[in-house]
């Protein structure tokens, strides 16, 4: 084995040399993306759960510190303008950002891919209408739509979740439709039909499971996007009530502090968001690699 390495041809002079990736490295990269992404996600879930039973201080109570206390042993991440403990608020915030993003995405995935399977498999008028609707909807700025609706129906977790899932539906519809259309005429699907399976069963039980990989990979990316929109709404003060320790909300509350040098109030919630969305992106990349072996090359 080591002698093989020694005998290996001299380094190749072109792009090909670099493209000549080492397969083990690539596989290594996929598995590590998967591991890091999953581990970070588990960590966030654990923190969210832990915050239900324990936080260093009460996250919602102001005046624990003097206000704008710099990070110290007593307050590892400092306190905000009102003197609430940042660490406690960040921990509780995981519940909101993680919970909202995951729930919204789960709803969008379910509804969107069901519609997409129907549109892709059965085609016809439903398909035409669905695709036109998707096109119109996608010309509509997504964040603006979320802002508009949330402003209108009022702040609240349920409203934010519903809006986010609605925004996500068109993407899933398109993706699932494309997946099913690509596979509808497989011999495999033909065989399932000839074996007497009803059409809906072929579509949902035989074809959809084959598309789970790409759908899940997209879901992970989409969850990151949903978390970012959640934070954006919170930042604008549109999503949740002002004292809610949602991370975007917290960044907004720290905005004035940034101008006067109390950077930590806005800084740490941003890192929390980075960790969550970053791990979701990593996970999405790894899942996409696994779903499409060709991509791994």
């Amino acid at each position: 084995m080591s002698s093989d390495e020694v005998m290996a041809p001299p380094s190749l002079p072109t792009s090909q040399a670099q493209v000549h990736a080492r397969p083990r490295r690539r596989r290594w990269r996929t598995t590590w993306s998967l591991r890091i992404g999953l581990a970070a996600l588990v960590f966030y879930v654990a923190v969210a759960l832990l915050s239900l039973v324990w936080t260093p201080y009460d996250p919602l109570v102001p005046g624990i510190g003097d206000g704008y206390d710099a990070p110290s042993l007593a307050f590892p991440l400092g306190t905000d303008r009102l003197g609430s403990d940042m660490l406690s608020r960040l921990m509780m915030g995981a519940r909101y950002d993680l919970g909202i993003a995951l729930t919204a995405v789960a709803i969008a995935l379910t509804i969107g891919s069901a519609l997409g399977v129907v549109a892709g498999y059965f085609g016809g008028a439903f398909d035409t209408i669905a695709m036109r609707a998707v096109e119109i909807f996608q010309a509509f700025p997504g964040l603006l739509f979320a802002m508009l609706v949330v402003q209108a129906v009022g702040a609240g977790i349920v409203n934010v979740i519903l809006v986010l899932s609605f925004v996500g539906i068109p993407d899933y519809l398109r993706l699932a439709r494309a997946e099913i259309q690509a596979k509808r005429n497989w011999q495999y699907a033909e065989a399932a039909r000839l074996a007497g399976n009803p059409r809906w069963r072929v579509a949902f039980r035989h074809l959809l499971p084959n598309s789970v990989g790409p759908l899940l990979a997209f879901t992970s990316i989409n969850a990151a996007f949903a978390a970012l929109v959640t934070a954006s709404l919170g930042f604008l003060g549109l999503g949740l009530s002002p004292n809610t320790p949602e991370w975007g909300n917290m960044i907004a509350r720290g905005q004035d502090g940034v101008m006067t040098g109390q950077w930590w109030v806005s800084f740490f919630p941003g890192l929390a968001i980075l960790g969550l969305t970053g791990s979701l992106y990593l996970l999405g990349d790894a899942l996409a690699d696994l779903a499409d072996p060709r991509r791994r090359r």
């Binding site: 084995m1 005998m7 041809p9 001299p10 190749l12 090909q16 000549h20 397969p23």
Partner: protein, 272 residues
């Protein structure tokens, strides 16, 4: 005997062995002590089924084998220089100007976003310098030389506007006429083309070889192509060279059972 062999061979492959590294890092041997020689000024056919290692060996000559291939032994001597020991710069000096190659699917092998004329001209300037205008003129001449009608107009077209046969002619013009190599390797140049086009392309290859004194290596799985055109034949099977000899000898007195099977399968035995 050994000395004599060196003198009349432009390229010698000696005991070339290697394996593919799979995803788990394990090695799957694919070439076993491959040895053959390309005699100067002759057309040598390397014949074998898909997966016999014939293309892989040829790609190794130019150092463009797939990234996952790992060599374990052997030498590839070109004018007594082992190509496998050359560095990037050394290889680049050989590529095109000394050894040039024509690939199977010519339409895919040409860059889709540049005109065919521009691609030929680029290669011309790379090897011979000169102005863009002069290079373009040589490109048009080369296209005309390989019997592409309306070469000026064709030079301004993109690969997707060419038929498969036309694209292969352009590819041959690039590899044989623009590069002016001493060794031309053709990797399944007629596969995927219509039968009549195939014989036109083969005629072109033979004609260019003879008129320009090229040494030509034709890699193919099609014995029909080989019989009429080639001087020497190398038969490969499962990563091994099973038989080498003159075309006449191979077709009339195949010694190896695999060669016999190959011949009978393509019904050349009766024909010969």
């Amino acid at each position: 005997m050994r000395a004599a062999a060196v003198s009349d061979a432009l390229l010698e492959i000696e005991n070339y062995s290697g394996a593919f590294r799979n995803e788990d890092g394990g090695l799957v041997p694919v070439l076993h002590q491959v040895s053959y020689r390309l005699k100067t000024g002759k057309i040598t056919a390397v014949v074998g089924e898909t997966g016999s290692g014939k293309s892989l060996t040829a790609l190794s000559v130019l150092g463009i084998q797939p990234p996952t291939f790992v060599r374990s032994s052997g030498r590839i001597l070109f004018r007594s220089v082992d190509l496998l020991t050359l560095d990037a710069r050394g290889l680049r000096a050989i590529r095109g100007s000394e050894i040039s190659m024509v690939f199977q699917d010519a339409r895919a092998a040409l860059n889709p976003v540049f005109t065919v004329g521009r691609q030929l001209a680029d290669v011309h300037r790379l090897h011979h310098g000169g102005s863009q205008r002069a290079a373009m003129k040589r490109a048009v001449e080369a296209l005309s030389r390989v019997s592409i009608p309306e070469p000026e107009r064709r030079a301004r077209q993109y690969p997707h506007e060419y038929s498969g046969g036309m694209a292969q002619r352009a590819m041959i013009a690039m590899a044989a006429l623009i590069c002016q190599p001493s060794l031309l390797i053709l990797d399944e140049p007629t596969t995927g083309l219509d039968v009549t086009i195939q014989s036109d392309i083969m005629e072109l290859i033979v004609e260019l070889t003879r008129s320009r004194g090229l040494t030509t290596c034709l890699i193919t799985h099609d014995l029909g192509v080989v019989a009429e055109t080639c001087d020497e034949v190398v038969v490969m099977n499962a990563g091994r060279v099973v038989e080498t000899g003159s075309a006449e000898a191979i077709f009339t007195r195949p010694a190896d059972p695999y060669t016999q099977r190959l011949l009978s399968a393509s019904q050349m035995l009766e024909a010969a």
